[in-house]
Amino acid sequence: MTTVLVVAAFVGAYVLIATERIHRVAAALSGAAAMVLLGVVDAEVAFFSEETGVDWNVIFLLLGMMVIVSVLKQTGVFDYLAIWAAKRTKGRPFPTMVLLVCITAVASALLDNVTTVLLIAPVTLLVCHRLGLPPVPFLIAEALASNIGGTATLIGDPPNIIIASRAGLSFNDFLLNLGPIVVVLMVVFIGLCRVLFRSAFHYDPDRVSALMALDEREVIRDRGLLVRSGIVLVLVMVGFVAHSALHIEPSMVALLGAGALVALSKLDPPEFLEEVEWMTLVFFMGLFVMVGALVEVGVIERLGQAVTEAVGDQYLLAGSVLIWGSALLSGIVDNIPYVATVTPLVQNLVDAGQGAPEAQALWWALALGADLGGNATAVGASANVVVIGIAARNGHPISFWRFTRYGAVVALVTIAIAWLYLWLRYYAF
């Protein structure tokens, strides 16, 4: 009976999250509270169980990176890079878009997607206004690029952080398995931009002088802070990459980096905590408790056994279903709760494969599907929602369907290529 009630509470909370009838944080906390009231979760399980409790590695990795971003934001480095890039292209629209989406993709791989678009969108609006270009295609392209670029690394997209922590995958695992395909996808994406947004590329030589008059050096507010932040960010990346040698968890690396930046920047708490999304962190905690309860009552184990028996050794089929299914669901609902729920099931499948590369590749199928699927609709990823909000506040409303008709094409093409990559790399030979 308890199991039925736990499943009902989980499904109820999930429906509330997906339909946004109440705020997703309230829904996740209500779900977690229901698990406590049903007697499945107690403080020991919620706070100290590595299997079924809150995954503090995920929470503190996110917190550390958010603090790092808060400090980086104060430097004005993104504004500098974007203006510098636009000036290098002499204001030609398509090359400007290419450089802006490349900056967005790289930044999204190193930071989180939402922060990246929050930092790059304002300067994009400025560049477009100076050049007399419609900003909407540029903003949509950046949202899509952030979701593609974020796929490349462990820290690039929240689903990757969850997968890495639950599967015990390292920063390098992500970089080596997803990095190459993301580079290919970015090249294809740039080609798609040329076609999809062709009507936006009107070159007006008279407006170029307005762009060239922008002084990018002026936006660097504190050169010393910029240098110190750059050094710490490089060291954090080195810490992630050298995980196997240093044996320091990514969450610890991020917290050490955040602590170093706080000490070096001498910023006040409101400044270095500015980009910390407390609601997101609490949302994650609620989700972990909800999913942990499913594990506690044995639902995940039984589902995992059923899926493992159904899959057998047909890992290509499982990977295909996982990448396409994840993409479809991530386009419709938030990919964070989806990945948090599916991860234990994939773990069962991978364990059953006893370390076979074909089974291990299921993690990459899940990451690629969940991350790239977010591009499919206007609400598929947080970055999309943020960009649409910024555009609306600046007098450039983007309707759901306008975003989706570009996003769906990009999602379809990139997932098809990602599926081909999975097949060629892990199953074909």
Partner: protein
């Protein structure tokens, strides 16, 4: 002293007044805002100077003030040209966002006026002859009120 005595003549501006004319009136008289009246001369809302700036400066520059440092004089001229060919109506907040109007009667005491300003965070109040025509007879700015209320200083 009563509100009627503290009130000063104020430029009459309606939602259909040209925005540039209204802004120039505000700047020329160094006013913190303007009282917008309807066609019958009754006060309708207050247009604070900050609302005019909010209209002129794009949201992305308001949220990222550091970015504004990259703009040259020509760019700022272009921003401020937005007031041309538009009316006060476009500067006003959406109807549902318009706050309660800071209005006092001609008989209101100075402290009463101060209380209205403080409660509504308004830099000025409209003074209306509520028992007569109901029309605005002038306005009181925060600086005018403070000048009256503060004790005369005997020096630093």
């Amino acid at each position: 002293m009563r509100a009627g005595e503290l009130a000063q003549p104020f430029p009459m501006v309606t939602p259909d007044t040209e925005a540039i004319v209204a802004a120039q009136a505000m700047a020329g008289a160094r006013l913190p805002g303007l009282i917008i009246c309807d066609e019958n001369g009754r006060p309708y809302t207050v247009l604070p100077g900050s609302q005019v700036l909010r209209f002129l400066v794009p949201d992305y520059l308001q949220k990222t003030p550091g970015l504004a440092r990259a703009l040259d004089e020509r760019a700022s001229d272009e921003l401020f040209r937005k007031l041309e060919h538009t009316t006060v109506r476009t500067l006003l907040p959406a109807p549902q966002d318009i706050d309660e109007l800071p209005v006092v009667d001609v008989d209101a005491t100075a402290v009463e006026v101060a209380a209205v300003m403080a409660r509504m965070h308004s830099p000025l109040v409209a003074v209306v002859d509520e028992h007569g025509t109901g029309r605005i007879i002038g306005a009181i700015t925060a600086s005018r009120l403070l000048d009256h209320l503060l004790p005369t200083s005997s020096g630093p």
